[in-house]
């Protein structure tokens, strides 16, 4: 593991967790807790992204242990972000937002079994209430759980992808030069 990777990962984890203060300030129903994972992957590759994701879940679990079972989602997000970077989906918001929406679908499909079997779909207030809504419109328990996860993940991942794309394009030239993978991801190399 290079020194730059070692130096970046703690900040990437901190970005994921510090963004909650900004989300609270603007009052949007978002988590943005995978921003650091996606950013680390686009800057330094999937290894850095996976370590960032695992550490994000670990540190978040110290505050609220219910985050830990979702560590697998962070790994999936890192791998998907790597694919997105290689395919050039971070080149503009026009490609990043649909890519984020697709990640929202993948994340909700993978998080539903964890949410259902471990938490009975009670992970957060928003997810529990949308799951209840799903039950009321006649979905099965598992279907309602997917419905709740889908509604929360869908928009969140699209905004996260858009945010990372904006960050990559706003990188100062000197900083960007130190991250050749990021230059490739936005189509400048």
């Amino acid at each position: 593991m290079s020194i730059r990777v070692l130096a970046l990962i703690p900040f990437a984890v901190a970005i994921s967790l510090a963004l909650s203060a900004i989300v609270d300030a603007v009052g949007l129903p978002l988590f943005l807790d995978t921003t650091g994972t996606i950013l680390a992957t686009t800057l330094l590759g999937p290894g850095a992204g996976i370590v960032t994701g695992v550490l994000t879940s670990t540190v978040n679990s110290l505050r609220n242990p219910t985050f830990w079972p979702f560590v697998a989602i962070q790994i999936i997000v890192a791998l998907y972000a790597w694919l997105a970077a290689r395919r050039g989906w971070f080149r503009s918001l026009r490609t990043a937002v649909p890519a984020g929406l697709l990640l929202g679908v993948i994340a909700s499909v993978t998080s539903t079994p964890i949410s259902y079997f471990v938490f009975g779909c009670s992970t957060t207030g928003g997810i529990a209430l949308t799951t209840k809504l799903g039950q009321l419109i006649g979905l099965s328990n598992l279907g309602a759980c997917f419905f709740g996860s889908f509604l929360s993940d869908f928009g969140d991942k699209a905004v996260t992808f858009a945010l990372v794309t904006t960050i990559l394009h706003a990188l100062p030239r000197r900083t960007a030069a130190r991250f050749p993978l990021a230059l490739r991801a936005v189509g400048r190399a």
């Binding site: 593991m1 290079s2 020194i3 730059r4 070692l6 130096a7 970046l8 990962i9 703690p10 900040f11 984890v13 901190a14 970005i15 967790l17 510090a18 963004l19 203060a21 900004i22 989300v23 300030a25 603007v26 009052g27 949007l28 943005l32 921003t35 950013l39 370590v51 550490l55 540190v59 679990s61 110290l62 609220n64 242990p65 219910t66 830990w68 471990v118 938490f119 009975g120 779909c121 009670s122 207030g125 529990a128 799951t131 209840k132 039950q135 328990n141 905004v159 945010l163 904006t166 960050i167 706003a170 990188l171 100062p172 900083t175 130190r178």
Partner: protein
Amino acid sequence: MRRLHPFTLLTLAVVLPALAWILPAPWGGAGTLITAMALLLTPGASPGFGAARTAVITAAPFWFFLYLLHGVGGMVSTGLRLSTMIASFVWLVAILPPARLVEAMVAAGWPVSAAFLFSATLQAVPALRERAQRLVDAQRCRGLATRGGPLVRLRALRALALPLVLSALHDVDERTLALETRGLVAGARRTALAPPADHRGEQALRWLLVLSCAVLLVWRVA
């Protein structure tokens, strides 16, 4: 209890929730929750009522939402398991300072990079949270509208998140230089300043706990 080796404390905090899910509900979950609460409340050896209150406050919403979604039966069986997990982790966080865990990792021969990542992350998170709050206050002073329609809020999110992330990436450059100057390289060995004692009895206890979990899991699946 505080004198136990960090790995023993970690094993206890992981094994209790594992047992809560492995053992049949609701009695398995009830037993593990009673054990976890006893760890939190044992006089003289535990973090005390403050930590117990944190565990109860964290677990309470789950009980409410579980009742809303699954009724009394589902609330009790899943609630006991979730509460065990929450109480065990709250106990662990309250009783084990991260610096002691890092010392134990170094003494056990973990790579220096793993120990660094863990301790550096724990330092970076509160620092960046504080910076995010300062940015929110500063941008509001400059007249940034953070409330309104979704587009206004998304624009505000961009105006707040961008400086936070770019300043963090700037810090990465400084940190890289500092680490290179201090000779932090992969494969380097560090000497723990005050390694926690790891007695044979504790090592045996850890293996016993993990093996018990495995045996019970096989019994439940079979």
